[in-house]
Symmetry: C2
Subunit: 130 residues, 2 copies
DNA sequence: CTTGACCTTCCAGTCACTGGAATCCCTATG
DNA sequence: CATAGGGATTCCAGTGACTGGAAGGTCAAG
């Protein structure tokens, strides 16, 4: 099938699919006219990538996961380790964002938000300490 | 003062301070030898930027906040609007990450993580639906 | 006079795409 | 048969916010 159908089936933009090819995540066959020719296996791989990316795995994680997926001798421990590492990064990021949210939320609440110029948000950003 | 001292005072890397200059966030004086010369006002601005960035504001938000900070005729409502927009983006991001964490956490828990190859994580990534 | 720390500019790379230009291919219609 | 459209190709450049590194200039100490 052509790239457009592969895109529709996987939900990935055609641009992204081509990009995945340039970085070696997939290697579809070519038709006589030079068009890419995606097999069901290819779309399966692309969908796998789409789901892994939607869980926030990096491209390199995806590459590793794909290799493990194709490796019948894999241990589930290897997969789990990648997932755990990613989970830790997610938790860290969430904690960072929550800290931002809490600080910023407090400032927004303290700011009356009217026509007057005095503003606790700017005052906090300008303050020496913290 | 030279860039190194400005960096130490503000906690920002010298590279970042130079970068902020190239994008027009700050414009320190120059000494005769061409070295940048930071005033106390400059380091104050840099510290402001550092705190705004640490709250996750984008560079463009920072630029706007700085302009408002310098504008005596500002309304706190303008500041608050920027902060609210940013807060909304943070909340969205947190929700996305929490969804990832929940899904991934469930999969990690379901995976025994030993030498055997069968793995619910890979099974989920490879599954047709979801 | 040399060493070493500091400063300068400029170029390239990061991550994962995304947009756009120029060009080619295929099918259908007038 | 010419042409219009929709799709395909490649390649280049840009995103955000830095960060690393190269090549070279400046300054104070020993």
């Amino acid at each position: 099938m052509n790239i457009k159908e592969a895109a529709e089936r996987t939900g990935l933009p055609a641009k992204t699919i081509r990009y995945y090819e340039t970085i070696g995540l997939i290697a579809p066959a070519r038709q006589d006219n030079g068009y890419r020719d995606y097999s069901d296996t290819d779309t399966h791989t692309l969908a796998f990538l789409g789901r892994a990316r939607s869980l926030g795995f990096s491209i390199e994680d995806c590459r590793a996961l794909l290799a493990l997926y194709d490796d019948r001798a894999r241990s589930s421990a290897e997969v789990r380790e990648i997932a755990l590492g990613h989970l830790a990064r997610i938790e860290t990021k969430i904690a960072e964002l929550e800290a931002m949210r809490d600080t910023l939320g407090g400032l927004v609440e303290a700011c009356h938000g009217d026509a007057r110029p005095d503003c606790p948000i700017l005052a906090d950003l300008a303050s020496e300490k913290r």
